[in-house]
């Protein structure tokens, strides 16, 4: 072993990818003066999300369409065709004093809420678990010149946009796919309120997605379905209005811990107001409060995970 230290730059043009001194000098001299601002960096991160979404458009679209399509096909086409025996939700609605309402009508708000949750978690939790595990690619964006909590807020925002789009996809599907006479009776009277509920419901799911993505053990991802997604959907007033649960009073109270309930009921209040629904103030309080709580917790755990 020699004892010399050579730091003289050899020009190694024969090696692929090794720049010459003059090239590097030009690179350094030409370097643009960076003037990052919070807004510019945030926007660039959002642009990155949309670039990825566009690249994966087919996969994303398929993911967003298949669930509502199959649900609507089975509940609004297959079941009415094979006999009304499965019209349980409508029965429940009727018994809640709302009269004869087809199941598709009950299903529309519930399906939208279910899509919100699904998309929020797919868009935020899954990528996040990947970014935190193995190569920790999260460091790529963590090194951007903004506080880590801005990155967390950006992830919530991007997730909310995807949730929102996911929920909107339900509309054309429910209006197009149904058996004759089984079209849902959807009528939006207050567009402002509808938008408000959708926006907060989207933010709530993506905040929850962020929280789950930062506390989930990647090896236990299956648990996500068993412990979160499935109970949240089945007990989220997707297939029945909350008021119909008065027959099972304890359940009616227990499901109040489920954020899905407020999304389904909020959308029910603006989409199918003729159906019994939870008071609007309760819905809004839960949606805004849930967004704040999950957003705060998610941002905190995210920052802790990034800055270990």
């Amino acid at each position: 072993m020699t004892t010399t230290t050579t730091t003289t730059p050899p020009v190694a043009a024969e090696h692929p990818g090794v720049p010459s001194a003059s090239e590097v000098a030009a690179l350094i001299a030409d370097a643009p003066e960076p003037r990052p601002t919070l807004i510019k960096t945030f926007n660039a991160m959002m642009a990155r999300e949309f670039r990825v979404l566009r690249r994966n458009a087919i996969a994303t679209f398929t993911r967003a369409v298949m669930q509502p399509l199959l649900f609507v096909f089975v509940f609004a086409y297959v079941f009415p065709k094979i006999g009304g025996g499965f019209n349980l939700g409508a029965g429940a609605a009727a018994s809640a004093g709302t009269g004869a309402i087809n199941f598709a009508t009950i299903l529309v708000p519930g399906l939208m809420a279910s899509m919100l949750l699904m998309q929020g978690i797919m868009a935020v939790t899954f990528p996040l678990v990947m970014e935190f595990s193995w190569q920790r690619t999260i460091e790529d964006r963590a090194l951007a010149p903004v506080p880590i909590k801005v990155l967390a807020i950006q992830k919530i925002t991007a997730g909310a946009v995807q949730s929102f789009i996911g929920a909107c996809i339900v509309f054309p599907i429910v209006l197009l796919v149904h058996a004759a006479g089984q079209a849902p009776h959807v009528h939006v009277t207050n567009w402002g309120l509808f938008a408000l509920i959708l926006v907060f419901a989207s933010l709530l799911t993506s905040s929850l997605g962020l929280l789950l993505g930062t506390i989930m053990d990647p090896r236990k991802m299956q648990m996500l379905f068993a412990v979160i997604l499935l109970p949240a959907t089945m007990l989220g007033c997707v297939y029945y209005p909350w008021s119909a649960l008065h027959h099972i009073r304890w359940l009616q109270i227990v499901v109040l811990i489920n954020p899905m309930v407020y999304m389904s009921e909020g959308l029910r209040a603006v989409l199918t107001p003729s159906l019994g629904h939870m008071p609007l103030w309760g819905v809004l309080l839960a949606l805004v409060g849930g967004t704040v709580v999950f957003g705060y917790l998610g941002t905190r755990t995210f920052t802790k995970r990034v800055l270990n």
Partner: protein, 323 residues
């Protein structure tokens, strides 16, 4: 490149202790470093020595639990955004954005640093050409070879002309040819005045590249200086180790009077080996064989290390370097 704000990197008693269920695990226990602007600085130590934790704290991604650190004049805890604006980081893992193409990785990094669309695209093109990746610009970053990915990581760290370039184990896991290529790239960058802090567990890498080296183990700096200073500081000794088939009986080295030979500073006998630190290695190896056979020992293997970072490490820690 760094404005007149003193050294490019300075740390004072920098510490990091991880809390775990089995108690506190100290990863870095009070490190003082000073890296001048324009310097090529190496943090050398075996795996688990605390190098990555140190670089993590300097790049704001690991929160120190004690002490302070400044990079480009900015406090890493009080002003992490200020630090992030002024540094480029080549992470040990491949942290390229897997969802983006090669060119997009550079374009979006530029945009994170506030460049406009056109400027970001121009900079990406320039970097791809200089780093020999122009023909892969539309490839997904996951399709790159190990060496190409490393080059892209370096290019990405340079989009905004950082005051300090950090590289965490840049050549770990690369084939020898790619490693030499990377060394050349780093030499050229340094030649153009780029301040570089590199961590490595390869002795020869630190020796070949770095002007200043801090030898680190168990979270502490054992010695710092130029390669020559380090060798001088530890006596620039040759280390001769002979292993025997049998355990070395007690008193063998004393009876052989090895320590009385001229130039010998230390003789160690432990288990099945005898090790001699000396400035005058001539004849020592033969002596060890003779001593061994007189004591009824059979030689299994023998090594003679000329003064190098490896002998420095051996002298400092009394342990062989574990990579």
């Amino acid at each position: 490149m760094t404005p007149d704000v003193g050294p490019a990197i300075r740390t004072e008693d920098l510490r990091k202790t991880y809390k775990s269920s089995r108690g506190d695990v100290p990863a870095v226990r009070g490190i003082d470093l000073c890296v001048e602007s324009g310097q090529f600085f190496g943090l050398l130590g075996p795996n688990g020595a605390g190098k990555s934790t140190t670089i993590g704290m300097l790049t704001t991604l690991v929160l120190p639990t004690g002490g302070r650190a400044w990079v480009a004049g900015k406090d890493v805890v009080a002003d992490p955004v200020g630090v992030k604006r002024r540094i480029g980081v080549v992470t040990q893992n491949n942290t390229l954005d897997m969802q983006l193409t090669v060119a997009e990785n550079l374009e979006f990094r530029s945009r994170f640093f506030g460049l406009g669309l056109r400027e970001a695209s121009r900079r990406a093109t320039q970097l791809l050409e200089v780093f020999g990746l122009a023909d892969r610009r539309k490839a997904m970053s996951t399709d790159l070879s190990g060496g190409q990915a490393k080059r892209l990581l370096i290019a990405r760290a340079l989009v905004h002309r950082p005051d300090v370039l950090f590289l965490d184990e840049p050549t770990a896991g690369l084939d020898p040819q790619t490693r030499v290529n990377l060394w050349d790239i780093l030499r050229v960058l340094h030649g153009e005045g780029q301040t570089i802090l590199l961590t490595t567990h390869y002795m020869e890498e630190a020796e070949a590249l770095c002007e200043q080296i801090a030898v680190i183990d168990h979270g502490e700096v054992l010695a710092a200086g130029t390669v020559n200073e380090l060798k001088e500081g530890t006596g620039a000794e040759t280390v001769i180790t002979v292993r025997y088939e049998e355990a070395v009986p007690e008193g063998v080295t004393a009876r052989a009077r090895l320590a009385d030979r001229p130039g010998v500073s230390k003789v160690e006998a432990d288990g099945d080996y005898i090790r001699v630190f000396t400035r005058e290695p001539e004849g020592v190896l033969g002596e060890l064989v003779t001593v061994g056979s007189a004591a009824g020992l059979t030689v299994r293997d023998a090594t003679q290390l000329k003064p190098s970072l490896e002998t420095v490490f051996l002298t400092l820690t009394g342990r062989e370097y574990r990579e």
